[in-house]
Amino acid sequence: MKLFEYQAKEVFAKAGLTVPRGEVVTDAEGASKAAATLGFPCVLKSQVLRGGRGKAGLIRLAGDAQGAFEIAERLFASPYGVCKILVEEAVDIAKEIYLSVTVDAASSKALLLACAEGGVEIEELARTAPGKIIREYIDLDEGFSPFHARNLACGLGVEGELSKKFAAAVESLYKVFRSQDAELAEINPLFITKTGDLIAGDGKLSIDDNSMFRHVEWEPGRDYFESELDFEASKEGIPYLQFDGDISLMCAGAGLTTTVYDLIVDAGGTVANYLEFGGPNYRKSLRAMELCVRNRPKVILIVTFGTIARADIMAKGIVEAIETLKPACPIVVCIRGTGEDEAAETLRAAGLDPLSDTEEAVGRAVALSRADAYASPRRGAGASAKGRGGAA
């Protein structure tokens, strides 16, 4: 789970990092008041989870209260779903550096990354100038030791009094990483001020989803998601991604769903949504299909090849879901794995035409999504349930 900048900075501040003075506001009136308190110039930072906020014009400098009001009005009205703005003092910057803690899977250690050129995206830097990134690894059981920070400071050319402050910042960020079960704790840029202080200019904190039971303080609300359906799927624990194409995917397994997505694109089709209802979710057919139906897809494509997720139980769930929701579009089913014979029987009894080959199922779904399938449902070739498949 990704946190908003203002939340990350709250966590950073509690861990002893310095962040700019600031205030979170939810309307333009609040923005101008906060700006007046903080002094000018000040920075208005839209709290959205997307990257590239600067380029998108979501971070603006205000010179007076009226300006802050007008900028805030425009930001709240932008198409990016801005619900909160962080109004911050402008910092007198001498230099910007990059600092983060993340996970290195191969060594199974925490990986500290630092770079003397802050503000740039680290992925971009890794591609263009990998030599400029300084790395330091920490074994979780051994923990942080000051030499880790000294190695980074030397690499960055940070010396004297500043190197002590830098070491403290590194230790604090590592503490955040550990205590929050983070995938990533990042400060980019980390400002070095003209008076020789270190201030976190931005804050990214991404918490491991598998550790959320230890971090109930972070309940993801609607504003964490791009769409209502993304939000509802997340509450159900159903992996879901919103697209705007024709075919709703209702598949089991991350790898298989991703592969079905590839095969659809290869076959010239488009995807309305990516949805996994396998593994622990295999009894959630109704909820999964409801999410699909609300996209008004031209076809719902169900592909599974399960082990724990039993095919017979999924088939029953799907038939019940169809009876309850009566989707207007055709449904292509390809359910295999544990209990597959019984599953096929259940689906046939409900008037569906169960397939056993993924590519055949994808081909059929793409054909149905392109042909004017609604006007002339092809019985036998199509796979609409009994008594439906008429005009949408």
């Binding site: 899977a105 990354l113 890794a126 790898g255 082990t307 794995g337 590519e359």
Partner: protein, 311 residues
Amino acid sequence: MSIFIDRNTRVIVQGVTGGEGSFWTRHMIEIGTKVVAGVTPGKEGLVVAADAHSAIPGFQGLSVYHTVRRAVAAHPADAAMLFVPPRFTKDAVYEALDAGIRKIVTIADGIPLHEAMQIRAAARSCGARVIGGNTSGVISPGQAMMGMFPYWIERVYKPGRVGVMTRSGSLTNEVTSMIVSGGFGVSSLIGVGGDPVPGTRFAELLPEFQADPDTDAVVIIGELGGTMEEEVADALASGFFTKPLVAFIGGRHAPAGKRMGHAGAIVSGGRGSALDKIAALRDAGALVAEKPRLVGECLRQAIASRNLESF
């Protein structure tokens, strides 16, 4: 032969009395795995799976013990199968390591990330191998399995001479069925799992497949995210793995910025897209199947070209 597990591997099961544990332990026994004892804290004295058909002569069920240490004292074992919830997995792995077990499989889906890192670090520090989590496990078809595979579906789990390594569950059934329909069978299938920090990585299993006389070729089932496939490419390029290698990589069309597939995609220095992986593997001499259906054909080509070279 096979890798990791065969008819002779003696296995204890941690979490043997739970729903999944008892169901799949029975299947592990029925396929031929030498399961020797069970562990569930607080349940010592129980005997489970007494009516299962075991390869062990005179089998009368599995005795359940409070701790791994007590189980292995009575029943020497080589491997531990964990049907333990994700939050308790680190503890269960540490317990098995402490009792001297050096092969561990955990199916747990949802192990906290930092604990997964600690598990891998602990295993490496004592030369043990942990497979998983978030996997179906390990199977040598026709011989033994640790985990949860519908091995009775013959069009997927046919014994043969192709080694398989995978990050997925359902996709593995899909691709392996194509290996079988291509006329091949499986020597050993290792599900390293879909987590960002799996206990064992693809490339670490290559030496075992290389050394296994009953594995002629290896198929890897990968996907976008992480760098495990690139590490396999590095192993091929270095000449350290010499058997034919075929790969299928999911996520070729995954749009940038969307977290598709398993939770494997973390900063990896510009590496990690499916297309990067495919290019790296091809450059290193692997054959990459664009679709699952083509895996059998790729295997035939890879093996045929290797045979030509040997003349």
